[in-house]
């Protein structure tokens, strides 16, 4: 087709402005895709904070409240679960595995979670990823601690370092368990979940630092040394919550009902997926705002492209008139402009993709650190591909507006080249 070489040469002549136009499109494409990606990633990473766990059980409370303190470590439980109830439920025939969780202490702003080594074996996040150690191993001794990736990075800890836990989760007026320091034996790989900001120790460890404590303070004159505590019975009397894995998912609702009806003690069992969805619908407002922003960005980008194309139209009137005088049909003039819009949009879309991947690669670490979002460099999804197609189509349509103007002008201008 004779229009293509002409369009290319004409574009090359206006390389500066053409590149600027393509860059404008690239920026908005990158922005739209980026926002889109962050949006889906945020939703997915949120929805898959816990996976592979069939039920989360805590003292009677609202499902979202239980989810918040047991999984996100936000707020505190109003009541604990007795060790006895936990033992009973864990022994039910439908239960495949169980992991107790005991919360309430902290280390320099990071929550401490007492649990068992089973936690590392059974906890799953994302697409059923197991937890992995970037260094060391699971805790074994009473005074062993395993750090989440974020804790280790922010506080600059390495294996073998000793840390002191703080009683309670507040920042002011807290007492420290100075007499029973913990040794770091493992550091977990990054997960993008609240686990990253958690210090995991054994239930026995939690019990040991509290043997000589009552009502939030150490009992004066009754201090028990770390070694002496080892020899005591360190079975907890209560835990905060526990995770359940069932032998068959079909049993989930039955077990849930049985726990809710448990006579000995009022308990609540939640399905993590359902509770996560409920919680997401609470914070969904932010998602709607992102959607709104990304659609506005598309609009602004396209408006910019129409402006750029229409602006070049004035300076290209002479070009069109010359082509007309040489016998070019107005359709060629129309085609040239639409082709140009198409080329610019295509370059813009490709540039936008590159820009987005470059920005993602650049921001990945920072976003992970600041927001715990795992931005993936995955190839465009179906939705993103459709979005790019829509941008391309809109670009052609946007090019058609000035092209139509040029077409009508080419028909009515005559050959006068006075500008």
């Amino acid at each position: 087709m004779r229009a293509l070489p002409l369009a290319l040469k004409s574009l090359r002549n206006r390389l500066g402005t053409a590149l600027l136009t393509a860059f404008t499109i690239a920026l908005s494409v990158a922005l739209v895709l980026g926002v889109q990606r962050i949006r889906t990633e945020a939703r997915e990473s949120f929805a898959s904070t816990v996976s592979g766990t069939d039920l989360i059980v805590g003292a009677r409370s609202s499902p979202v409240g239980l989810l918040l303190y047991a999984v996100f470590h936000l707020g505190d439980a109003t009541n604990n679960v007795s060790w006895q109830s936990y033992q009973e439920v864990a022994a039910w025939p439908d239960v495949a595995w169980s992991v107790p969780i005991s919360l309430g202490d902290s280390h320099r702003g990071f929550r401490v979670m007492g649990t068992t080594a089973d936690f590392f074996a059974h906890y799953r996040y994302g697409a059923r990823h197991p937890l992995e150690f970037s260094a060391g191993k699971a805790f074994d001794d009473v005074y062993d601690a395993v750090l989440g990736a974020e804790v280790a990075r922010k506080l600059g800890y390495a294996l073998g370092n000793e840390i002191v836990l703080t009683h309670g989760t507040g920042r002011i007026g807290t007492a420290e368990h100075k007499d029973k320091p913990f040794r770091i034996v493992g550091i977990l790989a990054r997960t993008g979940t609240p686990i990253d900001a958690t210090v995991a120790v054994s239930l026995a460890g939690i019990e040991a630092i509290h043997v000589d404590w009552q009502s939030g303070t150490q009992i004066p004159g009754h201090t028990v040394s770390a070694d002496a505590a080892r020899r005591m019975d360190l079975t907890p009397k209560t835990i905060t919550a526990f995770l359940l894995g069932l032998k068959s998912r079909i049993a989930t609702f039955g077990v849930q009902r049985a726990i809710d009806d448990y006579d000995t003690e009022p308990l609540t069992a939640i399905l993590p997926g359902v509770a996560l969805q409920q919680l997401w619908s609470l914070v969904g407002l932010a998602e709607n705002a992102l959607t709104l922003i990304s659609s506005l960005v598309v609009l602004v980008g396209l408006a910019g492209m129409i402006t750029a194309l229409t602006t070049t139209l004035g300076e290209r009137r002479r070009e069109m008139a010359i082509l007309r005088a040489l016998g070019a049909h107005p359709r060629l003039v129309f085609g040239l402009l639409v082709l140009e819009a198409g080329l610019l949009t295509a370059v813009g879309v490709c540039g936008g993709l590159l820009l987005m991947y470059a920005a993602l690669a650049f921001a990945q670490g920072f976003v992970m650190d600041a927001f715990g979002l795992a931005l993936s460099l995955a190839p465009p999804s179906m939705l993103e591909a459709a979005l790019l197609g829509a941008v391309l189509l809109a670009g052609l349509l946007a090019g058609a507006i000035p092209a139509l103007l040029a077409y009508r002008r080419a028909l009515s201008d005559g050959l006068s080249l006075r500008i």
């Binding site: 004779r2 004409s10 070009e319 010359i322 007309r324 005088a325 016998g327 005559g414 080249l417 500008i419």
Partner: protein
């Protein structure tokens, strides 16, 4: 000179306007020409003030504009009877245009500009290829118009002087031997000496190809170089330009 008019028969006429009436949309009637006949091979100077409808008349001759009334017959084809695409093809095949300024496509080289009409006209392409290679013909025309193709052929158009650009435009209008050359104030950007030289070179090439020339200008001093000189005001009966 106007005595020639009577001797032109329809077979030898390059241009014949009959009862032509034209007005821009929403405007008063600009052109009202009862009859204008230009013979083949004739070089006609059409003088008129700016705004008198000269360029509009050229648009009508080129089939870019259509009159509200009357006929425009060019080389025995009634342009008013042709549809859009055939009219464009007719223009590409038979007419070369030279304008006052902004003649060339700035993104093409000198030689590419000269060869441009061959993209749009198979007839002119064949005419050139019968005699040899297209590039050779472009170079021959450039040389005939006193431009060194070796030195200038690959240059960017913008690097040439206005006078050189006009000669490139003339070479482009003449490639493939179109029967009709239409020029719209092509010399007004040139100084007096360059004007004479440009017309001399242009006419030399037109004589060789027996090309009919319609040359429009407000500059009466050029009139003696042509076979015939017309005042648009004399042939246009339209009231609004009657004072010219």
């Amino acid at each position: 000179m106007s005595a020639r008019l009577a001797s032109v028969t329809s077979a030898t006429a390059a241009i014949r306007l009959e009862h032509l009436k034209f007005a821009w949309r929403g405007g008063a009637r600009l052109l009202d020409i009862d009859e204008l006949v230009i013979a083949r091979g004739e070089r006609v100077f059409l003088q008129g003030a700016s705004g008198s409808g000269k360029s509009t008349l050229l648009g009508l001759l080129g089939g870019v504009l259509l009159p509200q009334d009357g006929r425009v017959v060019v080389l025995d084809s009634d342009l008013t009877a042709l549809r859009g695409a055939p009219r464009d093809r007719f223009r590409a095949d038979h007419i070369g245009f030279v304008f006052q300024q902004f003649n060339l496509l700035p993104f093409l080289s000198v030689r590419e500009n000269v060869l441009l009409p061959l993209r749009f006209s198979a007839r002119r392409r064949h005419a050139v290829l019968q005699r040899g290679e297209a590039n050779a013909e472009a170079d021959r025309l450039l040389r005939a118009l006193d431009l060194d193709p070796v030195h200038h052929g690959h240059k960017v158009v913008a690097s040439l002087s206005v006078g050189q650009q006009q000669r490139v435009a003339a070479a482009r209008a003449l490639i493939g031997d179109p029967e009709l050359l239409v020029a719209d104030e092509p010399t007004s950007a040139l100084d007096a000496d360059a004007r004479g030289a440009f017309l001399h070179l242009l006419f030399g090439e037109c004589r060789r190809a027996h090309t009919t020339v319609v040359f429009v200008s407000h500059d009466r001093s050029l009139a003696p170089m042509f076979d015939r000189s017309l005042r648009l005001a004399d042939i246009n009966r339209s009231l609004c330009t009657g004072s010219n």
